[in-house]
């Protein structure tokens, strides 16, 4: 378990749960965790067929759960049920997130509430729902998806996205401290510019100019960092947010 000294990034026999797994970064995370040997629970409001096929193509079991992450009660119940049925959970990846570009002056209460619910509250509630099981089994790994926007204030994103991502960075550390005595390790990945369906912005038009490495990141770039943090390779790493940015300035 996570109290053991670090070893290879292998997840054979482990159970993982990935939110926002239908596409983009979440889909890549599900595939990479499965490739490392994990059976994977998949949560999204969208069709999970592609994610299920990706996991099964790696010879692992997939459990799709169609779920609206803005529905706090449903998240609490379905995640708890999932963990109870498996009787264990080794890895929770709180990946799901909405991009909101609405400026402050135009941001409605409803949009703010929705973005906070999906980006932040769902991560808190899902972590709460897996907590008793992780404590009982002597540990586990929780990985949160942060963002360059959460460090830098955002260039394309608006205040709702920026604030929730900044909050997730803080949550990483808080959960790390509370989890440490139980062997629960908490870390984050902060992606820089990543090419997905969610990130089609004019400022990303010329990919070569977006990062010092001369390319935008791909979902796989993030997924490999998540695997490192979700696997026994990082058993002495907790409370950290790893920048995966192609060298793009991340603030700190």
């Amino acid at each position: 378990m996570t109290t053991e000294v670090s070893g290879p990034a292998v997840l054979d026999g482990r159970v993982a749960l990935v939110t926002g797994a239908a596409r983009g970064i979440g889909l890549a995370i599900a595939r990479v965790l499965a490739r490392a040997g994990a059976d994977v629970g998949l949560i999204d409001i969208f069709d999970l067929g592609a994610a299920q096929r990706a996991v099964e193509a790696e010879g692992r079991q997939a459990w799709p759960l169609i779920l609206d992450l803005a529905d706090r009660a449903a998240v609490r119940q379905r995640v708890a049920e999932f963990v109870t049925e498996r009787a264990r959970l080794d890895v929770l990846v709180n990946n799901a997130g909405l991009v909101s570009t609405t400026p402050l002056a135009e941001l409605s209460d409803d949009e703010w509430d929705h973005v906070v619910a999906v980006n932040l509250t769902a991560a808190v509630v899902a972590t709460q729902a897996v907590w008793p099981t992780m404590v009982a089994q002597g540990g586990g790994k929780v990985v949160f998806m942060g963002s360059r926007a959460g460090r830098m204030g955002g260039n394309n994103a608006g205040p709702a996205y920026v604030a929730t991502k900044g909050a997730l960075h803080s949550l990483v550390v808080s959960v790390a401290k509370e989890g440490a005595p139980h062997g629960i390790l908490s870390n984050g990945v902060a992606p820089g510019p990543i090419k997905t369906e969610m990130t089609v912005f004019p400022s990303y038009a010329d990919e070569k100019m977006v990062t010092p490495l001369g390319r935008m990141g791909r979902p796989e770039d993030i997924a490999e960092a998540v695997l490192y943090l979700a696997s026994p390779a990082s058993n002495f790493v907790t409370g950290t947010v790893l920048n995966v940015s192609g060298g793009a300035l991340m603030g700190w």
Partner: protein, 271 residues
């Protein structure tokens, strides 16, 4: 590292401070993944003994002073001559002394800054000049939690490691156009031959463990896992980053490690 994925097959790495501790561990892991390594160290006996631990033809010891450009060049030339290239540089070599700030000798400052900061600069420059001819490479600098939280008994070390953290960021920007990535791994308190005697002191041991959220010391192999990840293609979009492998210590806000006990002993009990 991923269970013998052999992800460094055909690659050549230079590891400074390769004779012992983290450098030795990194070198072994790289060779296990298929790389050839140059072990650079200033301790001739130790580096030659370490080189004999490796399978024939996989490791070359070289005795160099990395605080000079000539020394850094000798290390890189060794990689070119023995193994035909250089793809990875791991700057592990580091030293420190301990002294209260008011008594810290100027020569200690110079010696620690030379090895811990100027050395990585010179080695990265020498290595990058060759890496760019081969389309890129990866550099990993071993920093320290001292880069974030300081150290009252080793302000020179803390300043050097803080400098190395920024050297990481700045060289990442300088070298990205050549496909060379530069990242840092910041170890917390790791049990090595170097730290074991201090950690044998019960008061220091207990005091330190209290301050590490995970409640244990790190091991060389955990630093090695982080180094191999950042050096590998799995991290091909990561550059300029610092990854702390510290059991949560940098976020614990408990201040420096057992130095405050040593400081208290030196100052007659006042912390």
């Amino acid at each position: 590292m991923s269970g013998g994925a052999a992800e460094f097959v055909g690659m050549v790495a230079c590891v400074t401070g390769g004779a012992r501790g983290i450098g030795r561990g990194v070198a072994h892991a790289l060779v296990a993944e298929g790389a050839k390594v140059v072990l650079a160290d200033r301790d001739a006996d130790a580096v030659e003994a370490t080189a004999r631990e490796f399978p024939d033809g996989t490791a070359a010891p070289v005795v160099v002073d990395i605080t000079t450009a000539a020394g850094a060049r000798v290390m890189v030339d060794c990689a070119l001559e023995r193994f035909g290239g250089i793809n990875v540089l791991v700057n592990c070599a580091g030293i420190t002394t301990k002294a209260p700030f008011l008594e810290l000798p100027e020569e200690d400052w110079d010696a620690v800054l030379a090895v811990d900061l100027k050395g990585p600069f010179l080695c990265t420059q020498a290595a990058a000049r060759e890496m760019l001819k081969r389309g890129g490479g990866a550099v990993v600098n071993i920093t320290s939690i001292a880069a974030e939280q300081g150290n009252p008994l080793a302000v020179h070390y803390a300043a050097a490691k803080g400098g190395l953290k920024m050297l990481t960021t700045a060289t990442a920007l300088a070298l990205s156009r050549y496909g060379i990535r530069v990242n840092a791994v910041g170890p917390g308190l790791v049990e090595t031959p170097l730290t074991s005697s201090r950690l044998a002191d019960e008061e220091i041991r207990a005091h330190s463990l209290e301050r590490i959220p995970l409640g244990r010391f790190g091991r060389v192999e955990e630093i090695v896992e982080a180094v191999l990840f950042l050096a590998s293609e799995r991290a091909s979009y990561i550059t300029g980053a610092s990854l702390y492998v510290d059991g949560g210590w940098t976020k614990a806000l408990y201040g420096a490690s057992y130095e405050d006990i040593q400081l208290a002993r030196l100052s007659g009990g006042r912390r």
